[in-house]
């Protein structure tokens, strides 16, 4: 376990480093320099500016410097969107909104998806199973923006007389409902499908038969014996779902005009605000990689049978 943990953390750090370097190299490959404007500055001015911002040094030196700055929490400053504001402070302002929506969405996805998956597995072959399968297949086939816009149109005043939720995000509890619903729909369907498969695997095991033979009640069999083992593979899907939810947030934030980090990220790409793009990418990548790491380590904790120290085989 210890060996695995260390190896896994090491891999995460390497991945992070690769992402950071990739980001930096890509940003450096952009043609042109930041000083180009309508009035072309003189060569002397450019040199002076380059010297001031350390752009006259070779690229590897710049890269090391940039990475060092990031470790100190210095992501640079925005050059276009909110001029001269530190990128980190922008991220810190926007991220909590995105994180809140993302975590609520994921929470309801797990709380609804897993029980639905169990239900489908236990009612296998009945109309409940078929209905759930149709809904879930539909759910994983609809891109996030379709779900979001359908909700927006039907429940926010598109149909006359039906206006349950505000169309514009104002931070109130009511305005959180639809974005979270839309964002959590895909993970919910995905998790419920995975749970169904895992549950079917686990209820065909011998120990479930034993439990039944001993006269245990159905509820106890499901929740005490089958579910616990069925949940193990489901946990593995949570890691990618966290990343997906965070990135799916880009769309939901655009549809519901939520002032979150995802929407800001897209805007910064459209406005070519490079320091913001770099900072946000590295920040989000770090978050996702750490979350994946945590999920993987939890997986190992929950299921000690699996020996992962030699690559999971």
């Amino acid at each position: 376990m210890r060996k695995y943990t260390i190896r896994r953390i090491f891999m995460a750090v390497v991945t992070l480093l690769v992402v950071a370097c990739l980001t930096f190299i890509l940003m450096n490959a952009i043609p042109g320099n930041p000083w180009l404007s309508e009035k072309a500055p003189s060569q002397a001015t450019i040199d002076a500016l380059n010297a001031k911002y350390g752009l006259d040094q070779p690229v590897p030196v710049q890269m090391v410097k940039y990475l060092g700055n990031i470790l100190h929490g210095d992501f640079g400053t925005s050059i276009k969107m909110q001029k001269n504001r530190a990128v980190l402070s922008i991220i810190m302002e926007m991220f909590p909104v995105s994180a809140k929506i993302g975590s609520i969405a994921l929470l309801w996805a797990v709380l609804v998806g897993v029980p639905l998956g169990c239900l489908a597995a236990f009612k296998r072959g009945t109309w409940v199973d078929s209905l759930l399968r149709i809904v879930c297949t539909l759910g994983i086939s609809m891109p996030g923006f379709v779900v979001a816009t359908i909700l927006l149109h039907t429940l926010c005043g598109g149909i006359s007389g039906v206006k349950v939720f505000p169309a514009l995000f104002d931070g109130s509890a009511k305005s959180y409902v639809l974005p979270c619903l839309a964002l959590g729909f895909y993970p919910m369907c995905y998790l419920s499908r995975q749970t169904r498969t895992a549950m079917l695997d686990s209820i065909n095991q011998e120990y479930i038969k034993t439990a039944k033979a001993k006269g245990l009640k159905n509820n106890k069999i499901i929740f005490k014996h089958a579910l616990r083992n069925a949940l193990i593979p489901v946990i593995t899907y949570l890691g990618p779902q966290i990343a997906f939810t965070l990135c799916g947030g880009l769309v939901v934030e655009r549809v519901f005009s939520i002032p979150g980090l995802g929407r800001y990220f897209i805007q910064s790409i459209q406005n070519r605000d490079y320091p913001v793009i770099m900072g946000t990418t590295i920040f989000l990548a770090t978050f996702i990689i750490i979350m994946n790491l945590v999920v993987d380590l939890c997986y190992k904790l929950v299921d000690p049978r699996i020996n992962l120290s030699n690559g999971g085989h």
Partner: protein
């Protein structure tokens, strides 16, 4: 021919026929002659031999859901690739005079009736006080009478009241109200008034089935082209993933040992990189570089960049860099199992090289998995493309895709909901049927996996 076959080929395990004849004297002379076609026909087979693909197709045909999905896929493909040839408009053609048409229209006669009704009930249809008096005088003269002043004043007052009330009415009367009063109903498809005139004069005019957008572009053609873009992107991405994943996975699985360990560490790392972020990053950074390249000359490559647009290229680069890992993992897993089989050992003992074993023995044996994974890559690529187009970093204008159409329609959602829902429904339907068919394909090609 028969003589040639007797002699063994170099490297073949088949024994030499002449040697066998020499060792077994009692064998008849023609023991090793190939069968004639007559003999072949007379040989009765118990059961027709069924090839792998035929068997899979038979299983697939029994799967109703998969067959319905296949039918939808075929219809959508025809819609996307044949449709634009049938419709006389193009996706970037802005038709003047038919901007923002809806899904339905009034026929030419109905429109004229509506106009007449509106005119009748608004200012122009009502006489002003002076005109009313004039008219009344003329009427009275025709009858040989003269109007008294009091009568004239009465008429004047009546007319001005009429005019006032109609003025108030003028603001409220609309086309739809007029149609309601007249009991007229809209017919499906959008036509502009000009087009209706042309149609009334006997010309054949193709309707705007899904209406037009604010710039007068036919939405149906745009949906067709968008579907075409989605399908093309999906297939290209899947092929790219297949090639890279198959090569990487088979080398990693076949070589094993240190090579495998290093290659798997790389895969693990790529696996934990958030792809979506990298794609967004790539599209942000490659765009200026590609635009510069695009303007640098007029070669084939530059034209290719112009056609695809910088965003699509960065998407393909991201697919090539990041998305093959799942495929390579699956192929590696299969090959790890298969390479322990006896026929691989036999091939190796006969001196076959690694590349040949992979190509001739290992990959054909995991074809079922490869086909399924490649096929299921198509909907996920379409999903991703629509996502990127929706947030504005997908295909670039004037080319369109279903995702960017949805994105354009978002601002007018409450007025023109169908502009968003038509592409959205087609997109969802396409991904759904591709997913369902992919599942069916997996069950048919790999019955062991069936749950």
């Amino acid at each position: 021919m028969a003589e040639n076959k007797r002699y063994k080929k170099f490297g073949s395990l088949q024994p030499n026929v002449d040697d066998i004849m020499k060792w077994n004297a009692e064998l008849p002379e023609n023991a090793f002659e190939p069968a004639t076609s007559e003999e072949k026909e007379n040989f009765i087979q118990d059961r027709k031999s069924v090839s792998y693909w035929k068997d899979a197709w038979r299983r697939l045909r029994k799967n109703t859901v998969a067959m319905v999905a296949l039918a939808i896929i075929i219809i959508l493909t025809l819609f996307a690739f044949v449709g634009p040839m049938v419709v006389p408009y193009t996706y970037k053609q802005q038709i003047r005079g038919s901007e923002a048409l809806g899904l339905s229209h009034y026929t030419y006669e109905d429109i004229q009736a509506i106009h007449a009704y509106i005119e009748e009930h608004t200012g122009t249809g009502v006489l002003s006080p002076d005109e009313a008096v004039e008219q009344a005088r003329a009427e009275a003269e025709a009858n040989g009478k003269k109007l008294s002043r009091i009568e004239e004043a009465k008429i004047r007052a009546q007319a001005s009241v009429n005019a006032e009330s109609s003025e108030a009415e003028e603001e409220t009367i609309t086309e739809s109200q007029a149609a309601k009063e007249l009991g007229l109903k809209k017919k499906p498809f959008g036509y502009s008034e000009k087009e209706l005139e042309r149609k009334a004069s006997g010309e054949k005019v193709f309707p705007h089935v899904f209406g037009t957008d604010d710039q007068g572009r036919d939405i149906m053609v745009r949906v067709m082209v968008g579907t075409r873009v989605s399908i093309t992107v999906g297939i290209c991405a899947a092929l790219l993933v297949l090639i890279i994943g198959a090569v990487y996975g088979s080398i990693s699985g076949y070589c094993g040992g240190a090579v495998d360990a290093v290659m798997q560490r790389i895969v693990e790392m790529i696996y934990s990189i958030p792809e979506m972020l990298i794609i967004l990053l790539l599209s942000a950074t490659l765009k200026p570089a590609l635009e510069q390249f695009q303007n640098s000359g007029n070669g084939i490559l530059q034209k290719l960049v112009t056609i695809l647009g910088p965003n699509l290229i960065s998407m393909f680069i991201a697919f090539g860099l990041l998305y093959w890992v799942t495929m390579s993992r699956i192929i590696r897993g299969q090959i790890l199992q298969l390479k322990q089989q006896e026929y691989v050992t036999a091939a190796r003992a006969l001196g076959a090289k690694g590349g040949r074993i992979i190509r001739r023995h290992l990959l054909p044996n995991c074809i079922g998995q490869i086909v399924t994974t490649t096929f299921l890559q198509i909907p996920s690529a379409i999903f991703l493309e629509s996502f990127l187009s929706f947030v504005g970093v997908g295909v670039s204008a004037p080319l369109t895709s279903l995702g960017s159409m949805c994105s354009e329609a978002l601002s007018g959602l409450n007025t023109y909901p169908y502009r968003l829902f038509i592409p959205a429904v087609i997109l969802s339907l396409m991904i759904l049927s591709l997913n369902l068919f992919g599942d069916g394909l997996r069950d048919a090609l790999d019955p062991r996996l069936k749950k």
